[in-house]
Structure formats: structure tokens, C-alpha cells
């Protein structure tokens, strides 16, 4: 067989080679795509971590605020407590003091703040040992300790 003539086998080889290269290119492209996606994902995860960290910081700040010694050793609820509370909690405590027991709804009506926020503050007062709560059916009633 002369060199100028390509045999059947040569043609098949050439065809296979081209196929192989094509396949190779597709794989490379896919890998590039995957790499891009992985980068995007890692960016997203990093951002999530940042917000999570920020949230953890706030939670720790709140924890610290309420684990102060004076709060922990607080046994009696008397008016000097008014002097150690942050403004927003004092407002809730003073409103609660007007009632034998009250729901977050009742408290919020008189403080002019939302029910959800008063519920949060009332529960904080409970955790600090300044108020207690009891559930009656669907409703939660708070009272001074």
C-alpha cells in the first residue's frame, strides 16, 4: 500500500482521533463549568456563614446582657429592679405591673408596640425571673413574680 493512499484503517483512526479530541474538549468545558459552579457555591456558603456569624454575635450579646450576676442572683422583685433594666424592658414590666395577669396582646395595646415584640420582651422577663407565664388553652398569661 502506497503512502499517498489512506487505508480504511487509517480513515477510522483519524475519525476516532477527532472524536476523542471532541470528547476531550467537551469534558474540559464541563469541568470548567463545574469549577465555576463550585466557586459560586463557595461564595454563597461564605456569605451564609457571615450572616450566621453576625446572628451568633447578637445572640451572644443578648445572652451576656441577661446573664449578668445581678440578674442571676435576683431573688426579689422590688422597684430597684426598675433601675437595672434597659428602657424597653422597664416599659413592659411597668405595664405588666398594672395587671394581675396579662397577655402580650393586652400589654401591647397599652405600650403601643406590636404584640410580637411584647411577647418577646415578656418572655425575656420570664427568663430573667421577673415574670412568670402560664398557658390556658391557646392563650399565654404573664404576671409579675
Amino acid at each position: 500500500m502506497g503512502e499517498d493512499h489512506l487505508g480504511v484503517n487509517d480513515v477510522r483512526d483519524e475519525y476516532n482521533l477527532r472524536k476523542l479530541i471532541e470528547l476531550n474538549n467537551r469534558i474540559v468545558n464541563l469541568l470548567v463549568d463545574i469549577h465555576k459552579k463550585v466557586e459560586e457555591i463557595s461564595e454563597l456558603v461564605e456569605a451564609e456563614f457571615k450572616t450566621l456569624n453576625m446572628q451568633m454575635e447578637t445572640i451572644n450579646e443578648i445572652k451576656e446582657l441577661f446573664s449578668k450576676d445581678e440578674m442571676n442572683t435576683l431573688k426579689e422583685l422590688d422597684p430597684t429592679v426598675l433601675l437595672s433594666l434597659p428602657d424597653y424592658l422597664r416599659k413592659t414590666l411597668m405595664e405588666l405591673s398594672k395587671h394581675e395577669e396579662a397577655t402580650a396582646e393586652t400589654v401591647s395595646r397599652n405600650t403601643g408596640r406590636s404584640r410580637a415584640i411584647e411577647s418577646l420582651y415578656l418572655n425575656q422577663l420570664c427568663r430573667m425571673g421577673l415574670a412568670r407565664k402560664k398557658r390556658v388553652g391557646k392563650r399565654v398569661y404573664f404576671s409579675l413574680r
Binding site: E76, P79, T80, V81, L83, R90, S97, K98, H99, L144
Partner: protein, 239 residues
């Protein structure tokens, strides 16, 4: 409705005298006014005004009696007195600390009731110093009038009290200098306490002679009366 606490660090500064006359002058200026005596340690309104009562602020705040039942009329304003009997003074002195939180609740409810009745001003005559009842009175008030005697000033004690109670509770405070002889101390006090002296009331030996009467009503043109009337006008203009 505005609730004014008349307070001082020391006793004998003229709180009770000022509370009575401020109430009388606010009425003269057309304001519906109620005077509450919340000095359970040393009640003095009953003898100072020479009036009788069947129910007392003690009953309202300790036993939950309706505020209406304790109000007595005098000179077109109403007043509720603290019970001066020894048994009652001892009773209050032996209250458990925790009971004072309930006392605050009853005080806040009584004030709300007065507001609904259309009262414009409630004047609270408090006990001096930093007792639990005082914290309650101040916590329940909108404005504090800090009464200081010009001839007997305890700046450092007063300063502690301002920082420890008024500032923490975020109250609007004005100083009334009483028994003023020389008018020399205003700037010094304002500088050291960083609070405006809203009024200087002259010292006058006529004042103690009018027990059982309302001084500023009986002696309208007296400089002490004029001073208190101007203070009332200023308070009204503050809104």
C-alpha cells in the same frame, strides 16, 4: 394629663408647702388638679391643711381601694392624704419589698383613672431620699421638681440621686430653689448638677404662720405667692 413628682434628697426643703401651693395655683390657672400625698414615712398634709379623711392613699396603694374614695375637696382641688397614724406608718415600714411592685401597679392604675376623669395635673408629694416608694413615685411621674433649700444644699448626695434614679428612669427634671435669701447659688447649682433651676422661691418668715390655710391663696401679692404662680405658668407653658 401631667404627673409632677415633688421630690428632694433631704427632708424639710419645702416639698409639702410647694405641692399644696402649686396645686392651688394650677387650679387658679384653670387646670383640674389632684394632689396625692405619697409620703408614708412622715405624713403631714392632714395637719398642714387641717382636713379629715376616711380613706387614705395607704388604702389605695396597699389595699386596692378606689382612688375616688380617698379624694377630699379643698379650695376647688382634690387631695388624697397619707394616713398619719403610728400604726399605719409602721404598717408601711414593714411591707415586704416585693409588695412595692404591686404598689406601683396600683399607683399607675389610679393615675390612669384620674386621667380618664379629665384631670390635667397630678401633683405627688413624695418622701425625701431614695426609698422604694420614692422610686415608684418617680417612675410613675412625667416630670420631677427637685426642691433644694438654698441655705442647706447637699450637692453630692443630690447628684448621686439624680444619676442613680432620675437619669436611669429618663425623667424630665427641674430644680426649684426654695427659701432663697441671696440669689447667689443658681448658676453654681445649674453648673454642678447640669439641671435648669426653673424657679427661685424667696425665704419668708410669713410662710410658717399660715398653717391650715393655703398661703398663696391668702396672700396673693406676697413675693412667695408670685414666685409659685410664675412657676405654675412656666410648667403649663412646658406643655
Amino acid at each position: 394629663m401631667k404627673t409632677l413628682a415633688i421630690h428632694s434628697y433631704k427632708g424639710g426643703t419645702g416639698k409639702t408647702f410647694l405641692a399644696i401651693n402649686l396645686a392651688a395655683q394650677l387650679v387658679e390657672l384653670g387646670k383640674e388638679t389632684v394632689l396625692l400625698e405619697l409620703d408614708f414615712d412622715a405624713p403631714s398634709l392632714k395637719t398642714t391643711l387641717g382636713i379629715e379623711a376616711e380613706k387614705w392613699t395607704n388604702d389605695v396603694l396597699i389595699r386596692g381601694v378606689n382612688i375616688e374614695e380617698a379624694l377630699v375637696s379643698i379650695n376647688n382641688f382634690k387631695v388624697a392624704l397619707s394616713n398619719p397614724s403610728i400604726e399605719e406608718i409602721n404598717k408601711v415600714a414593714s411591707l415586704r419589698k416585693t409588695e412595692y411592685m404591686r404598689v406601683l401597679g396600683r399607683l399607675l392604675r389610679a393615675l390612669k383613672k384620674l386621667e380618664r376623669e379629665g384631670i390635667d395635673y397630678v401633683i405627688i408629694d413624695t418622701s425625701p431620699g431614695v426609698s422604694l416608694m420614692t422610686i415608684n413615685s418617680i417612675a410613675a411621674s412625667d416630670v420631677v421638681l427637685l426642691v433644694m433649700r438654698e441655705d442647706d444644699i447637699d450637692i453630692s448626695g443630690t447628684k448621686n440621686m439624680i444619676e442613680g434614679i432620675y437619669d436611669v428612669l429618663g425623667k424630665e427634671v427641674y430644680i426649684v430653689l426654695n427659701r432663697v435669701l441671696r440669689k447667689e447659688n443658681k448658676e453654681k447649682i445649674e453648673r454642678e448638677l447640669n439641671i435648669e433651676v426653673i424657679s427661685e422661691i424667696r425665704c419668708s418668715c410669713d410662710v410658717p404662720l399660715w398653717k391650715g390655710k393655703i398661703f398663696s391663696i391668702e396672700n396673693r401679692d406676697h413675693p412667695v405667692s408670685v414666685g409659685i404662680r410664675e412657676l405654675s405658668e412656666k410648667l403649663i407653658s412646658l406643655g
